[in-house]
Subunit: 409 residues, 2 copies
């Protein structure tokens, strides 16, 4: 490609960060110099925004020891972006790429980023500009089609599984005071992360007792009945909800404008998005008269450096290497995918998926992975997800309940 | 004591759990059999509630390998309690203790638990019942007087320091989309945990940029000005708030009744405690027109098993051993304390504090530890807190910003 002249490789990060995106980036920076075809390695600052504004940094001039640290640092070292490209943006990107002799574009991101890649690849093809565009998957949401799973998911899933074990032990200890604990996970349209809360469960009485995912319409009255029933049977209820729960009318649960009286001088109108978790906790207190509280780890679940899955980390590097290899061979308009070769022992390898089959599509939890009563995950889901979170989760211990006989006192 | 007859030792856990309370419990269970004076070891189920109801389990009949797991399990293996004892409860506890020949009571807890210990110790003394009552400190709030710090704090502080580093990197990566990220920590009356967010900060531009603690009245207008100023200078603002912030009238910020329209059929009145973090995020969006979001880890910060401080873990065991030793020697109406012997290298040893000086008192952040403008912590605080969180925090890496010169495009 490119008649023997060296072409620049541009790499960017896009969408919500993960704990392992920088491992992908650093692997790309380490792999690319192995190819004689690759000249400069340009880091796009804030993804495609960096291409539009010519904000780029020279990734060949990085200290290897600093790269070692960057690879272990959560979030996105180049800066990320949520900018949605228009046709004229794609034209501008190609102008900039021409000026900088960019022949390879690797964008590490999720659904929107794959759409950006696809648009730029098509426009380059139309204009006859030789450019290999390879999307590199990364999303804690795990909602990209065309791949078994996405780098970033395994670590966030591990965070949620551990959070459920830990906050679940907390609730169990506090059961004479707290009745219901709600953990709100990310997941606007899909329940991949909420579902991961089931991965640390070893006995039926272990948390989580209830899981609600956006793949199923949410019925508040039914929810209240179920919470009461589990509380009657178990004494406490640990419940995981995805942030994007919708009712049967398609309305987000708990996303409501609220009139807030903020001070003694009058009323202020605040459009609060209380979030489904906090909303449901309030409703449980009111309707069921049970003590309920909500934890909402927010961006911690995608950025936590202490709960990185070793499997996720290795796969994040794997897709980075594969992306460089494909691009240099001139493969374009594709996303690197992960294929599961075997489940036990778990082994995966990189593949590719055409961007046309990935861009602007979402992958949902399979019907067979959600229990028929819509409050938990089946063993098929656990088999799918467990290898992705890396090392076995810790074993927690409970005391043997040898009761001391009562005495007359 | 007790004329050579063996006395039973009763141990209970009380108040909000921590990640290392079970390490204290297991150390007590392992230490007590070394003393000939100690007969049965009775675990009070849900703290003093277990004494009142004679709900107790035999802690001598525990498998050592299970105890090994329990010691590494967050929360409270015996179950915790928030029950406030009255005079008649103390009488009942003594009746039960007489019936079971309990001569040693160790209660692992915070302020309320120390009050419980003090009341029972005084009543036993008044009634001439030989009972050694020793309080064992445990609280993520770190608000017990009479001790340098409390087991449980170091691990929760480590969680908050890491959360700030991680979520801070996330915000920095998303700065073209998100402007302000708020982390809401526990801390109803004191800012010990919010303050710990400063422990991972290495450069002035590192998160957190602002810290607000309940020791200072909160001024919303001033807050808005400060957030805008930091945003102007830095491009993004990472802000940590303790849940218990109060305004100059003593009112909790963000703790307001809200009218919520929940469905198409009408209005429901929900007393939502939106929490200060989510409230301030909403106000920032409204007043400053900046993108703001809030993370609220809730019970995760006190129960996380992955961020246990090794120093905290060792000290949690140390206070357990010391409590048994004091009780068996007949020392009563005291709390085991931690004394800092040296700071560099850090070394501590157990001491004791009279419960009369501990019960129903709170320890606040020192004035000299809060910056004069009330938005951060001084180096004196960092010196105090850094040894408590154990191993050094990870070093995160940033790319060297070697700009690629722009070209005519």
């Amino acid at each position: 490609m490119n008649g023997g002249a060296k072409g620049a490789l541009a790499v960017g990060q896009s969408g919500g960060p993960t704990a392992v995106t920088n491992a992908t980036l650093v692997e790309i920076v380490r792999e690319a110099p192995a190819y004689a075809e690759v000249g400069r390695i340009l880091g796009l600052v804030h993804g495609i925004e960096g291409a539009l504004a010519q904000e780029m940094i020279d990734l060949r001039q990085q200290d290897p020891s600093v790269l070692e640290y960057v690879a272990r640092t959560p979030a996105a070292a180049l800066g990320s972006s949520r900018y949605k490209v228009r046709e004229e943006d794609c034209e501008r990107v190609l102008e900039v790429f021409r000026a900088h002799e960019v022949r390879y574009l690797l964008l590490v991101g999720g659904n929107d980023s794959m759409d950006t890649c696809h648009r730029i690849a098509r426009m380059a093809a139309r204009e006859g500009y030789e450019l290999a565009v390879v999307g590199v998957p990364k999303t804690i949401d795990n909602d990209l089609p065309g791949t078994d799973h996405c780098p970033g998911y395994g670590s966030a899933a591990r965070f949620i599984a551990l959070a459920t074990m830990d906050a679940g032990m907390d609730l169990e200890a506090m059961r004479t005071f707290d009745d219901v604990s709600i953990l709100e996970t990310m997941g606007r349209n899909t329940g991949w992360l909420a579902a991961a809360s089931a991965l640390g469960r070893r006995a039926p009485s272990d948390p989580p007792h209830l899981i609600y995912v956006p793949e199923r319409p949410f019925d508040e009255a039914q929810f209240m009945e179920t919470v009461q029933r589990v509380h009657d049977a178990n004494g406490h209820v640990f419940c995981v909800v995805a942030e994007g729960l919708r009712d049967r009318h398609g309305q987000f649960v708990g996303l409501v404008p609220e009139t807030v009286q903020t001070d003694v001088f009058g009323h202020k109108l605040v459009t609060l998005t209380s979030g489904v978790g906090q909303y449901l906790a309030a409703r449980i207190r009111e309707v069921l008269c049970l003590q309920a509280r909500c934890s909402r780890p927010g961006t911690l679940q995608r950025s936590a450096g202490t709960t990185i899955s070793c499997t996720d980390l290795e796969e994040a590097k794997m897709v980075g290497r594969a992306a460089v290899q494909h691009a240099v061979r001139g493969v374009s308009d594709v996303m690197v995918a992960l294929r599961r070769v075997s489940n036990n022992p778990y082994r995966s390898e990189p593949g590719i998926a055409p961007l046309a089959c990935v861009a602007n599509r979402e992958r949902f939890l399979a019907d067979a992975w959600i229990e028929p009563d819509n409050t938990g995950m089946t063993s098929e889901f656990l088999e799918y997800a467990l290898p992705l979170i890396g090392d076995p989760l810790p074993e927690y211990g409970r005391l043997r309940c040898v009761r001391v006989p009562k005495r007359t006192a």
